[in-house]
C-alpha cells in the first residue's frame, strides 16, 4: 500500500515538472476563474451588508417643494414630530437646499446629466426620518399622511430603495457568476488538455502498464493527483489575489464618510476565510475531475 502511494506521488511530481508551461497556464486560468468566484461571494455578501445596515436605521425621506414657504416647512417638521412614539424625534434631520444639493452631487456623480438640471435653487429640501417602529406598514401609512401635507413634493421610503439595490446586487451577482462559471469551464478544459498531453507523452509507458496488468485506477491516480495539485495551486493563487483585493477595497472604503452606505460594503475576515476554504476545495475537485475525465478517455484501449 505504501509502495503504491509513494509510486503515485513520484509519478505525479515527475509529470508535473515535465510540462511546466502547460501546467502554469492551467494553474493561472483556474486561479483567475476561482478569483472571480470568490469575488462574487464577497460582492454578494457586501450588498447584503448594505441592505442590512439600511434596514437597521431606516430612513424615510420627506422631500419638500423648492418653493415651499418657511411656515410650510415648519409645519411639516411639527407634523412629523407629533408622532413621537413612532418617529425617533432626536434623529430627525432637516437638510436645506444647499445641503441637499451637496448630497445630490455625490448621488449623481455618475449621472452628470441629471446633476446639471439641479441647482441649489430648484432642488427640494428634505427631512430624513428615522422611525422607532419595526412595522413597515405603519411607516408607509405615515408616509401617505405626509404626502398630503402642503409643500410636500414626495416621500421616499428606504423600503422602496432596497428594491433598486437588491436588483443591482442580483445583476452584479449574475454577471460575475456567469463569468466565473465560463472561466471554470475553461480551467477544466486546460487542465484536461495538460493531462492529456502528459498522458500522450507517456503513452508507451501506459501501454506497458496495461499489458503487465496495471488497473486503470493505478494508471489514473497519478494523473488525477497532478490535476488536483494544479487546481489546488490555482486556488492558492486566487486566495492570495482575493486577500489583496479585499484589503485594497477595505482601505479604500475606510476613506468614505460613514453613513454613505459604501462603508458597509465590507466583509468580515471570518467570511473571507470561509470563502477561501471553499475556493481551495472547488479548485482541488475541479482539477481532479478534469484530469480523471482526460485520463479515462485515454485509457480506452
Amino acid at each position: 500500500m505504501i509502495a503504491r502511494i509513494a509510486y503515485a506521488f513520484r509519478e505525479m511530481w515527475a509529470s508535473f515538472r515535465r510540462n511546466l508551461t502547460l501546467t502554469a497556464a492551467a494553474i493561472l486560468t483556474s486561479a483567475i476563474a476561482l478569483l472571480l468566484v470568490g469575488t462574487t461571494f464577497l460582492i454578494q455578501r457586501a450588498f447584503e451588508n448594505l441592505l442590512v445596515q439600511w434596514r437597521g436605521d431606516v430612513e424615510m425621506i420627506v422631500f419638500v417643494r423648492s418653493d415651499a414657504t418657511p411656515e410650510q416647512i415648519a409645519l411639516i417638521g411639527d407634523t412629523i414630530k407629533s408622532a413621537p412614539t413612532i418617529i425617533d424625534v432626536e434623529k430627525l434631520q432637516y437638510l436645506d437646499k444647499v445641503q441637499t444639493y451637496e448630497e445630490a452631487k455625490r448621488i449623481f456623480a455618475g449621472d452628470p446629466v441629471t446633476l446639471s438640471l439641479l441647482t441649489p435653487e430648484n432642488i427640494p429640501s428634505q427631512y430624513k426620518v428615522v422611525p422607532l417602529t419595526d412595522d413597515p406598514a405603519l411607516v408607509r401609512s405615515l408616509s401617505e399622511q405626509y404626502r398630503s401635507l402642503p409643500g410636500v413634493e414626495d416621500v421616499a421610503l428606504a423600503e422602496d430603495e432596497f428594491q433598486v439595490i437588491s436588483t443591482l446586487s442580483r445583476f452584479v451577482r449574475t454577471v460575475t457568476l456567469v463569468m466565473s462559471l465560463v472561466l471554470l469551464v475553461v480551467a477544466v478544459g486546460l487542465i484536461w488538455n495538460t493531462i492529456r498531453t502528459a498522458m500522450f507523452a507517456r503513452r508507451r509507458e501506459i501501454e506497458v502498464m496495461k499489458l503487465v496488468g496495471a488497473t486503470n485506477w493505478f494508471i489514473r491516480i497519478p494523473f488525477m493527483l497532478e490535476g488536483l495539485l494544479q487546481g489546488l495551486l490555482g486556488a492558492v493563487v486566487s486566495c492570495g489575489g482575493l486577500w489583496v483585493l479585499n484589503s485594497a477595497w477595505n482601505n479604500g472604503v475606510a476613506g468614505f464618510k460613514p453613513g454613505t452606505g459604501i462603508s458597509s460594503l465590507v466583509v468580515p475576515s471570518s467570511y473571507l476565510s470561509t470563502v477561501m476554504v471553499v475556493l481551495l476545495v472547488v479548485g482541488a475537485v475541479v482539477g481532479a475531475v478534469g484530469s480523471a475525465i482526460a485520463a479515462s478517455r485515454f485509457l480506452d484501449v
Binding site: 500500500m1 509502495a3 503504491r4 509510486y7 508507451r204 509507458e205 501501454e207 506497458v208 502498464m209 496495461k210 499489458l211 503487465v212 496488468g213 496495471a214 488497473t215 486503470n216 493505478f218 494508471i219 484501449v301
Partner: protein
C-alpha cells in the same frame, strides 16, 4: 490453458483478420503461430490477452471466458500472462532493473519483493551485472532479454511472444529461443507468432499455420514449410 472456439475477428466491416479459428493449447505447451504478414498471427495473440475482443466465438484462458470478462477483470487476466514483442517495448528512460521492476511495481508488489525477484530473473536471462544500463546501451538481443525478464518476472502461466526474433540476427535469435525454451521447461505455456523459418524448424514444436486469417495446418512437432 488456452482455447479458441470458432473465433472470428473483423477490423471494420471488410477486413477479416481471423476467420472461424478453433484450437486448444494445453498447459505447458509450446506453440508456433506461423504465416505471412497479415495472416492473423498477431490478432490471435491480441485476442488472448484481450487487447481485442472477438466478434464471434469464444476465447478461453485458464478456464475463463475472456470475451465475456468485464473490463475491470482484464488487468488480472493480464497478470497471468507475459508479453514479448518484436520491438521490445522497453521504457527508454528507465534502467534494466527499473524496466523489470516496473512490471511488479504497477501491480502493487512491495519493494522488498521487487528487490528480491528482479535480480533472480535478470540472472536467469543472462543479464546479471547489467542492471544499471539503459536500453540504448544494450544490443538488440540484450534488450529482448530485458523484455523477456519483464514478461517472466511475475511467473505467468502463459507467455505470448510476437515475432521476438524478428529484429535479431540468427545467432542472437537462437539465444532468445533457448531462453523461451527454458521458460517453457518451468511449465509456462508459450505461444509465439513468427515467420522465421529457422527457429521453427530447429525447435520442432507444434505449429499452427495461418493463411489470410484461416488455420490451414495444425501439426505436432511441425516445421515451417
Amino acid at each position: 490453458m488456452i482455447r479458441l472456439d470458432h473465433v472470428t475477428k473483423k477490423y471494420g466491416s471488410e477486413i477479416v483478420a481471423v476467420r472461424d479459428a478453433t484450437f486448444d493449447v494445453a498447459k505447458g505447451d509450446f506453440v508456433f503461430l506461423v504465416g505471412p504478414s497479415g495472416s492473423g498471427k498477431s490478432t490471435i495473440l491480441r485476442l488472448i490477452n484481450r487487447q481485442e475482443v472477438a466478434d464471434r466465438g469464444d476465447v478461453w484462458v485458464a478456464g475463463r471466458n475472456v470475451n465475456e470478462m468485464p473490463d475491470s477483470r482484464v488487468p488480472y487476466l493480464r497478470r497471468s500472462m507475459g508479453n514479448v514483442f518484436q520491438d521490445y517495448k522497453l521504457l527508454t528512460n528507465k534502467t534494466v532493473f527499473e524496466n523489470v521492476a516496473f512490471a511488479l511495481e504497477v501491480i502493487g508488489k512491495p519493494r522488498h519483493m521487487i528487490a528480491r525477484q528482479v535480480p533472480i530473473v535478470l540472472d536467469l536471462v543472462g543479464l546479471a551485472g547489467k542492471e544499471d544500463r539503459f536500453p540504448n546501451q544494450l544490443s538488440g538481443g540484450e534488450q529482448q532479454r530485458v523484455s523477456i525478464a519483464r514478461a517472466f518476472v511475475n511467473r505467468p502461466l502463459i507467455l505470448l511472444a510476437d515475432e521476438p526474433t524478428g529484429n535479431l540476427d540468427p545467432a542472437t535469435g537462437e539465444g532468445i529461443m533457448g531462453l523461451l525454451d527454458e521458460i517453457n521447461q518451468t511449465g509456462t505455456t508459450v505461444v509465439m507468432a513468427t515467420h522465421d523459418h529457422r527457429v521453427v524448424n530447429a525447435m520442432r514444436r507444434r505449429v499452427i499455420q495461418l493463411d489470410r486469417g484461416v488455420i490451414v495446418r495444425d501439426q505436432e512437432r511441425g516445421v515451417y514449410e
